[in-house]
Amino acid sequence: MHEQYSHHFEKKMVSINAGEYYVSDSNEIISTLLGSCIAICLHDTEKGIAGMNHFMLPGRVLVGNYKLSNSDKYGINAIDTLLSTMEKRGSLRKNITAKIFGGGSVMECMKDSTMKIPFDNVSHAFMLIEMEDIPIIQSDTGGQFTRKVYMDVKSGKVYLKKSTSVVDIQKVVTAEIQHRITLPV
C-alpha cells in the first residue's frame, strides 16, 4: 500500500496491492490494478465511507466436491475483514452497496478449462456478497483485460480503465505470481 498525490483527480490517492484492503472516510481515491484478482468496492451511501479489497484464490475450488479444499479461505476472510472494518467505522449494513471488478484471464495458462481460477474468483465474490445480502449495483468481470480501478471515497463513483496492452499484462502477471508464491496453501 502506498500513498501519492494524483494530479488527474487532484486528490490524495492510495494504491493497494494484492492481499490488502483499505477503508477510508476522508476525501481521497482508492486505486488498484487487477488481473485475475477481484476487487470488491463497498460504499456506504449515508456516511460516505468506502472500502476496497483485492484478493485472489490460490487454486481451484470445485463445485460438488465433497472434500474441502484449502484454496477458499483467503477470499472469504478478505470480505469478512473488509465488512467488519467498515462496520467499526460506523456504517450500517443496510446502507452498504457493492461493486465487483476483475477476474480477467490474463495468463495464457488460465484460458484452458483446468485452470479457471479467474472464473472461480468471480463466482466466489458474487456468492459471498449475496450471502451477506448486500445489493450488487455494478459489476464488470471476465474477459481478457487488465483493469485499473479508481474509487472516489465520498461519492462512491468508480472509474475503470481496461487495457489489453502487453506491458500492463506483464506487470500484473509478475505481481500476481509473486503474491501467489507468498500464500501458504
Partner: protein, 195 residues
Amino acid sequence: MLRKENSKYGVPMYMLHPGDYYVTDQKCLMGSIAGITAVVCLYDPGRRIGGMGHFIIPGTQGTEDILFDDISKEGILKIEYIMGEIVKLGGDRKDLKAKLFGAGSYQGTENNPLALSRSNITFLHEYFRNEGIPVIKESLGGRYRRKVLFSPVDGKVFMKLLENNMDASKFIELEKQYVDQVFRSGDTYGDVIMF
C-alpha cells in the same frame, strides 16, 4: 462447499453449493441460499449431530406413491446419504427431526417453476410422512430466495427471505447448472441391457 474459518458468529461456517450435503457433530454453522431447490436440515437433538442437504427432484410427480415414482429417487438418495452419515457418527434414525426450506417458484430458474416447486413440496411432505420423521419447522414455496443458516448441534435455523440481487444472483445461476445436470443425468440410467 466453502469453509469460513472465522465467521462473525464465532464458529466455523460452511457454505453449501446446490447439490452438496454435509453432516457433522462439531459446533459450526451451515449456510446456503435456496431458490427452486430444497434445503433439508436433519438433526438428532439428543446426540447433537446434524446435517444439511441441498437438492432438487427433477420433474413433476405423478399421482402414484413416491416410492414407485422414478424421479423421486434423486431426493430419496440424497436424504439417505445424510441419514447414513448421521448414523455413522453415532446418531439414531428414530430420534431424527427435520426442518424444510426452499422449493420456491423463483422466476428465471426453469420454464415451469410452479409445477416443479409444487412437486418438490409434495415429495418432501410425503417422504417425511412415510418415514415417520417429525417435521418441526418448514417454510416452502412462494416466490422467494431463502438464506438458511443451520446449527447442527442444537438444530437451530436462522432464515431470511432475500430481496436484493434479484437479477445478478450467482446462486441461482449455479442452481440452474445443477438442475440441468440432474435433469440430464436422469436419462442416462435407461433400461437394463442383456448381453
